[in-house]
């Protein structure tokens, strides 16, 4: 997503207001590589702005996702994860510590896809591809 300053301008030009709560969330999300859940972000935000509402965090995350400034993913761990990296990338998930990392993948366009039934060939128009690698991160590799 864009910088807090750019988002401030973007929000105003859309008729949306830039509140202290939103500015804080802009800062917390910018360059954030932890793929936080709404709850996780709320915890961090609360430390810097006691009294901020979880509802407001959800609201702002929804707004940012709707503007294309955030991507959201369901990794099966329950809560939805948010990612300020909106470029073409994929994810690694450690099955041991649940850490999620961005990864860049070459060769996605060379994948050869065949449907379960030959009759379904060419019946699907792909708009996007999401790849999730599951395994063990370096830190968890030893601690089997």
């Amino acid at each position: 997503m864009r910088t807090p300053a750019e988002l401030t301008t973007a929000f105003r030009s859309l008729g949306l207001k830039v509140t202290p709560q939103r500015q804080l969330l802009f800062r917390l999300l910018h360059d954030n590589t932890t793929h936080p859940t709404a709850e996780a972000l709320f915890e961090v935000a609360s430390a810097q702005m006691p009294g901020i509402s979880l509802r407001t965090v959800y609201q702002t995350l929804t707004d940012l996702a709707g503007m294309g400034e955030l991507q959201s993913f369901a990794f099966g761990g329950g809560a939805i994860r948010f990612d300020p990296n909106v470029g073409a990338h994929h994810h690694q998930v450690c099955v041991s510590c649940d850490e999620i990392s961005d990864v860049y993948v070459d060769g996605v366009d060379q994948l050869n896809v065949s449907p379960r039934n030959a009759s379904d060939a060419h019946s699907f128009t792909v708009a996007s591809t999401d790849i999730v690698f599951r395994g063990r991160c370096m830190r968890c590799a030893d601690t089997v």
Copy 2:
């Protein structure tokens, strides 16, 4: 997953009991390509066995998944989806009608993965790869 008859044997050999509820679910899941949610399966099961509990459906799905007879996925549509196809395959999801189809993909091992930071290279041991193609199925292609 295996056939209802094979599952019957497998359950008994594990000290688990084969109840009418489980036999029904074995049948409903065998060769099922709809990637049903627990609720969806409960609806179908209820039609054939009025009074069956949603709790029992969840329980049996959890058991089967634990035995490796089912795979489960979170596709972001809220509820978890179950898939009796436990072979190596991936999924297509229609963004219009939410239909999920199994697809087989060649070239997965040829994907060239690079982490966000060069220092993280070779720091992750991949155990499995899940690919989700999002787009439009043939039936929804026209009805834009």
